[in-house]
Symmetry: C2
Amino acid sequence: MKFVANKDDLLNGIKIVERATVVKGLQPVLANVLIETAGVNQIKLTATDFDLSIITLINAQVEEEGKFTLPAKKLGEILSRLNDELINLELNGSTATITSKKSKFDIIGISANEFPQVEENISETDCMEIETRPFTKAIREVVSAAAGYETNNLLSGVVCEVNKNVLEMAATDGNRLARVREVVKNTSSDAETAFEMLISSKVLSELSKISLLADSETIKICKEMKKIVITIDKTKIVTRLMQGQFPKYNQLIPQTFPKEASVNKSDLIAALERVAVMVNEKNSIVKFEFADNTLKLSGDSPDAGNSQDEIDIKYMAEPLAIAFNYKFILEFLKIAESEEISIKLNSSLSATVFAPVSDEDYLYLVMPVQLRG
Amino acid sequence: MKFVANKDDLLNGIKIVERATVVKGLQPVLANVLIETAGVNQIKLTATDFDLSIITLINAQVEEEGKFTLPAKKLGEILSRLNDELINLELNGSTATITSKKSKFDIIGISANEFPQVEENISETDCMEIETRPFTKAIREVVSAAAGYETNNLLSGVVCEVNKNVLEMAATDGNRLARVREVVKNTSSDAETAFEMLISSKVLSELSKISLLADSETIKICKEMKKIVITIDKTKIVTRLMQGQFPKYNQLIPQTFPKEASVNKSDLIAALERVAVMVNEKNSIVKFEFADNTLKLSGDSPDAGNSQDEIDIKYMAEPLAIAFNYKFILEFLKIAESEEISIKLNSSLSATVFAPVSDEDYLYLVMPVQLRG
């Protein structure tokens, strides 16, 4: 194998695929990126952790065909430190030599034969194509509500549905639920049939980051029985379709709320962060007391002391005291783009909805924590 | 105890003294700062880890005398999140209450009786007063060459001498030696007698950082048999004078060098950082080959591969190959203020001196590593 490539292109490609490498795993080859020539003008980079595989193509001037695997991290470090625009890569036995101006690196790699097979082909019968920006905005708005990936249960997934021109995405970990709807251009082959999938929140987060590196206006998603292939420009993400029945989350969202508050987002973030200095670190509970255009916040830490704060809000309903894990609320507030936040309340024990005043299609439902005493 | 203070003053004071707190020690009170009223217009903050004590005074309107200890970290977190200029602090039994506008915090503390006695008084017979800027510049230039504090040996100290108008500071860990001389205004009571001390490099690093917070043009240092008190404006640092005979380092610096190279600092940093991607992580050896206005650098990692680079330099002497721990060289290069660096050489096994071309009073001597084979 021998080729000349633009340094920044190759570095960008490494940054895209290395998100799927396994650095300290049992198989050293999974820390490597597979580099293959693909015709005379392209090379293909692949990395995989079996669950998630990422493949990308970059332009190169191929002088000799071949394939080999090299450690993604070392390769990235070397490329990011080089000054010149062009690099040469040439394979010599178990070593690849990178030269660029007066710099030269012999990098020990692993044979491509040891790299697992990644099947990126998929039938194009069940696909949808969507604009990148609303799709990644929706991802950002819901992923934090999904359960941690470690648990490997259905709740670590995100439901994603495109029905005609509406994208709906939702995630829940049982204590909170985020749902977003976006009007999108749907250029699917069969726009009349709804496209639905349950996909790992971790994969969606990676997809968001990759979409910043692989600058493309649209994203194409195809699915089969057990597999999803997402295409962003010259990059393909291969992962598994999660199987099982996700909770019917829309039924969990109350339709009406007897009480509603309107709160300035920055005021609430500042007050919550102050009060949070003194909370029980085990449950992160902050008490919210709504009354008379005022929101009183208080925290109590058994070892360190307690805290109180107060902000002006719009609230004319009957007084209500309710407690939340403040971290859930802060996560929502830091994502919400509106300066005014609406809080829709029922009772101290009922699901409460936080939503940006400017965007009715995004909501964050949080279950309260029971107050003692 | 009860007082009103400016929030930023109090926060700045906490930031200064908290460098001496012990966060996870056996004595919880050492994670706290001792707060004492000092007359009607000041409060005194003290923190200590026994080796190092820091005391600072801040302005306050004292309404009720007293003293108490509070956790430095929590106090800093609370103050940094408050918006208003003024805070009230009032002691109630084992709790101090901080109020500021609509925010209120009850912080559980520990009685001042449990706080160790810190003796900040010192006889003023053996003192010197020095300008802050050249003193902290000298600290920055030498501390990295001192041995790690953990070893608790003499080499973890820095020699500091003021003789008439010249400050000399030096540190060595046995593999490298940094020495700096600065012309300073010496306003000591007895400027004819040299002032000399051996002081922990860790304390000097803290002093550098504190001098940024306690904005003062001069620093006063007094010593007794076993103790040093450093005064920066309203802050006092109390530490022990290290005892013992520091190596006669000036004898270790060769007077003449048969070979000399002149190197661009940025070029050398970039090339070293490239080559360093492929070095043995155990010894960090990079080989330097000087010949014919060229410096060739090379690294070799048994597992990952090898690297080579080359930069243009000024060097007309006989070719010389020599190897160093590249981390020592990079540390010097990142401190040195000159763009041109002079490298003074003798043989492959001789002490080599790195110095900024623009500043002959600063030098960094590095012992080479023997090349194999």
